[in-house]
Symmetry: C2
């Protein structure tokens, strides 16, 4: 049965899949060969496009005139007989998600080894547009670098009294849940799955890693609600995952313990997992936040995180499921007076001793930086220190610390830097290859008509998906894809404008917020807007130690917390000294006088003043540029963006003035250019 | 009908009315003469006491043996014929709340001009205890200095998403409301009224001055719920008041405007008030927070606050009601960059031009300081600047900024200082006589078993009531009353211990929190615990302007905001110069270098260090002292106090270390004594 394309509810933005994006395919004659549910999805997509643009789609064996496009699934691994070895690593084959694209004799052919590959191949052709049907194309093989490309939703089922429906959500309510119940809006969820598939994402965790009482029950008596979501996402090649509480055997099962080595506990989990797979046969697995920020975990029972993760892995293994165990473990009740404890060290200190102890289907999910999704952090040293463990990299598409989708902050370059980082130094393997356990983004999507609050924040989700598919991709090329899909046949003025607005937006945000990697100068709790000392005397381990003489955290091995020594040789050496440490991370690694001269030639204090004035000026320019695009982006989108740019500018000015005033009041050093600091 | 004494629910502390406090009265023969509902209350009290302690009470004409105690109401003003002129101001009479107490020939006699006076006379005898029945007592006349002695409850009917059931409540839920409904726990409300009457309070406002949607309706269709409370409180001489929203004609009446000069609006209010009085014939009046922190008000319609207050006064006048109009009007969206705007000036600037324009039954309710219930503020200059306006003084029994009833902070001395302050200087009239429109405390009571969270916080409510009755009373004498009532026959060790714990507690709190009057170094939002810069870059007008050279707010006329000039001559002169400004207010009035030498001989910075170390040491001592009283205060009370002292000590250390670290980091000046600063 051909599967119909989901119909967007009235007023919901099509994001990067407007009907127009399918014009090139929809105007052609297409032959589809193969079978299986996802082939029906592909057929539905092509049929829908043909319905709009006058083309034709045929199933099964060719008949009549030659086809413009052939989409086919082969039984054999197409690594054989198709000459695919050219584009693939030796012996790897395409896998079930890969495909080959070529064009000869007026026909463009996509060949996949499985229906999922065909779906990705179709979206590849969509991205190519008219170019897919011009000239000749050599065999070009595509397969995802990473098997698991996931978004984790921090969606609560019941509205949390402090965190709301979506924890750190800046795009309205949840697509899945509302006020304690499943929303059941299957069509919107299908449309969401389609968007995810079009950028290569193949897994979704449907609830917050902070699993509260209501959410805990999704694992057991409410698994049916998860199954409805899974059914809606499956036709787009997406498997569903669940965040679970480590205390489930106690809070749901009535057991006196959740000790991972207790036989009753293991039996309880085995039974619970059987129930899950009965409802969702292709269930992906669990996401677990344990012994982290107050969540329960194996420490309660004197067990290690490997014990905890392996117990869940054992329950999941017979069904092909995976446990994603988060490495975000640190002391969130630190005494700010104690300068020897360093939160940045925590994940490494906790997990490196466990390397090699995790089960095959246990993945350690590591945030890209050692702290918590700040605008600038070094890459987590854990990523280079656990060679015998499957690692997943977690990034945050939801802009908790990067403007909360009121500010434009395209994170592609930041993620790309992390993915290209080579923990062993030059010649080593980049992070994007280390993290074979998956690439994960915390979702930035909600029930907002634009999906992501700020319409331009859509680019973050799209970019994440594409980088997860190909971690060494140039993010700017990905951004251009997003622009081309979202604004089909955009005039050059719009393309250039959007590039300008997005490409530099992360650097701009960094300029007017926390300087030189020091992080966490945000309002406590909600994390929006500046509060330079907001976390300075808190138990959260997030300090800048500014005094009248200097600022920054000494994380050197020689005189500081020793964090710098968690890196392999070349990086440890580079970060150890202020003389070699990159400017943008200087205050993350070192406490320096305000007069310290950066590699840029500026003093730290003048750098702070200058970047804060520049950052605001850049936001002012961006706002003007957005205003000039009013005629090209559609009125609703433009109005939304305009409102957000107003707020971004107001907030950027607040950041500028608070940070500059704070630094001036403390340092006493006047601005070289005599600008107003309060 | 004799009214029975309210029975406390199981586990609720009797506070300052334990049965034992009535022993002296209850063991005697008492004659009660007079009639009216409150006489029945008096009879019920005495009868209850006699039932416990073996005495006897007789109504009406004397019979048989002489009486130990005669409680009588005369029809004529007892100022005539009883020689009362001795104790009263000439020609004032006793009024309906006054009474005369004397003892001769073995009989103690209380004579009152009305039943309310008799009730207060009875509690006077209870306070005297055995002393009331010894020797002779000369005629001694008592009457309250202020007619209205009110507690304002900031209780919400519906739980507010941020502020909860009781705004700034630190004693559990509300006695009146829960989850959107009236609790209907009449017996507890009666017991509460009895406690209030015993310290002289005669008015209660039953809902938060921030009137939200649910609470607005108390004025109209939910007035019956208020009437139930009024009925419970009336037998203890307490009139009920209501906080109303200025926008009521719009939000409840469906009118297009709440313009106070609009005839439809005036008619709407007149009708609403008629409805109120139909339900509560002795209704006291309205409390209004208008054009304040986002509340609606007359400014919306280009009208003055006199226009607004007088409109409500006109509606209330035919029924004998009063409007209490709060003077807490300031710009809560101030730009922190603008040093010319001074929130401290706001009430004066807004209201002094309106002096003489308010109706007779409109009272302007003024906070005791110009800011917002900080641990140290100067007395509001408004109190000396509106001679043709009825003023009420508002203090805050709920300890929003003074430890939130987790810290012991007995506010008697602070309030007494304000009441004794003479706005015109020496020879002028004290605030306690200026504020004839009433003395008002924001309630510190909730449904907590100890009423006030910390058992020792009961002393604040008691002290407020007694100071409202007699503003020039020595607060230490009032404290001794509270100790004697609450702990009948307490051994000297307990009396001395409680005195030590309470008398100095305000100064102790001041020592370890914000120094020298600068205020507002609290955590934003909930206002508990330190955050030195928490309000420094906020829109709330609450700044300390600390930089590396100095700290404080220049409010002088010569170089600052001019606030000091709002005072009459002698005070304006005193506050104008750092050379004459009292130490404890120095940083409120002046920005000075850290090295500025106080009258105490210490520098500002050393004073800050010293007081912060001292304050914590004093809390440590207080905790030890409390521990030593374990055998004398009862186990439940002691356990509660112990838990609170632990928290007070933890929090005091946090204050000490954060304030000292902040100042050290900014000033660079080391502690003279080399103590640890982080």
């Amino acid at each position: 049965m051909t599967l119909s394309v989901p119909v967007l509810p009235e007023g919901v933005d099509p994001a990067w899949l407007p009907p127009e994006a399918f014009r090139a395919v929809g105007a052609r004659r297409t032959l589809i060969r193969g079978s299986g549910p996802l082939v029906e999805t592909v057929h539905g997509e092509v049929a829908d496009a043909c319905g709009r643009f006058g083309g034709e789609v045929v199933r099964g064996e060719p008949s009549g005139a030659p086809y413009d496009l052939v989409l086919e699934v082969t039984d054999a691994d197409p690594g054989l007989g198709l000459g695919l070895g050219l584009g693939l690593g030796l012996g790897l084959g395409l896998g079930e998600e890969g495909f080959v694209c070529r064009r000869a004799d007026g026909t463009t052919t996509v060949t996949a080894a499985g229906p999922r590959g065909l779906l990705y191949g179709l979206f590849h052709v969509v991205r190519l547009g008219e170019a897919a049907f011009r000239g000749e194309r050599r065999h070009e093989a595509h397969r995802p670098a990473v098997a698991l490309r996931m978004v984790d939703h921090w969606d609560n089922v019941a509205v949390h009294p402090v965190m709301g429906q979506v924890e750190r959500g800046y795009a309205g309510g949840s697509l899945f849940w509302r006020d304690g119940r499943a929303r059941g809006e299957v069509e919107r969820v299908r449309a969401y799955g389609r968007l995810l598939a079009a950028c290569g994402i193949n897994a979704v965790a449907v609830n917050n890693v902070n699993v509260h009482a209501t959410e805990a029950r999704l694992l057991t008596d409410r698994i049916g609600e998860v199954a409805v979501i899974a059914d809606a996402l499956r036709p787009y090649g997406i498997r569903t995952h669940l965040s679970v509480t480590f205390a489930a055997p106690v809070v749901l099962g009535g057991l006196p313990t959740a000790d991972p080595l207790d036989a009753r506990v293991r039996q309880w989990w085995a039974r619970a997992v059987r129930g899950v797979y009965a409802a969702i046969p292709d269930f992906g697995g669990f996401v677990v936040k344990a012994d982290s920020e107050g969540r329960p975990g194996p420490f309660t029972y004197g067990r290690s995180h490997a014990d905890g993760a392996n117990m869940l892995a054992a329950a999941l293994a017979p069904h092909g499921g995976t446990v994603h165990w988060r490495a975000f473990v640190y002391d969130h009740r630190q005494d700010w007076r104690d300068r020897t404890t360093d939160r940045a060290r925590a994940a490494y200190d906790h997990f490196v001793p466990l390397d090699g102890e995790f089960a095959d289907n246990a993945v350690l999910q590591v945030k890209h930086g050692p702290m918590d999704f700040q605008v600038r952090e070094p890459v987590s040293p854990l990523l280079g220190a656990m060679p015998r463990t499957r690692l997943a990299l977690e990034v945050q598409a939801t802009q908790e610390y990067t403007g909360q989708q009121r500010h434009v902050c395209w994170l592609g370059p930041m993620w790309s830097e992390a993915l290209r980082f080579r923990p062993e130094g030059e010649g080593g393997v980049p992070v994007g290859e280390v993290t074979r356990g998956g690439l994960v983004a915390v979702s930035n999507v909600g029930d907002d008509p634009f999906w992501t609050g700020h319409p331009l924040a859509q680019a973050n989700l799209y970019t994440f998906g594409r980088l997860a598919w190909q971690p060494d991709a140039d993010p700017r090329r990905v951004l251009d894809e997003w622009i081309a899909l979202t604004f089909p046949s955009a005039p050059e003025r719009l393309v250039a404008g959007l590039r300008t607005l997005l490409r530099g937006s992360w650097r701009t945000y960094e300029k007017y917020t926390t300087p030189l990697g020091v992080g966490f100068m945000v309002q406590p709790g909600h994390h929006y807007g500046p509060s330079v000392d907001g976390y300075e005397y808190s138990p959260w381990g997030t300090y800048h130690f500014a005094d009248r003489d200097g600022i920054g955290v000494d994380r050197s091995a020689a005189t500081g917390t020793g964090y710098a020594a968690q890196y392999a040789g070349p990086w440890a050496e580079l970060y150890e000294s202020p003389a070699t440490c990159p400017d943008e991370l200087l205050l993350f690694f070192h406490h320096v006088p305000y007069g310290h001269v950066l590699h840029s030639g500026k003093t730290v204090v003048q750098h702070i003043y200058d970047t804060h004035f520049e950052g605001v000026a850049e936001v002012e320019e961006a706002r003007e540029l957005w205003a000039s695009l009013a005629d090209l982006v559609g009125p609703a989108r433009h109005a939304r963006g305009t409102e957000r740019y107003e707020e971004q500018l107001r907030c950027a000015r607040e950041w500028r003035d608070q940070v500059n005033s704070y630094v001036l009041r403390k340092s006493g050093v006047p601005d070289e250019h005599g600008r107003t600091i309060y």
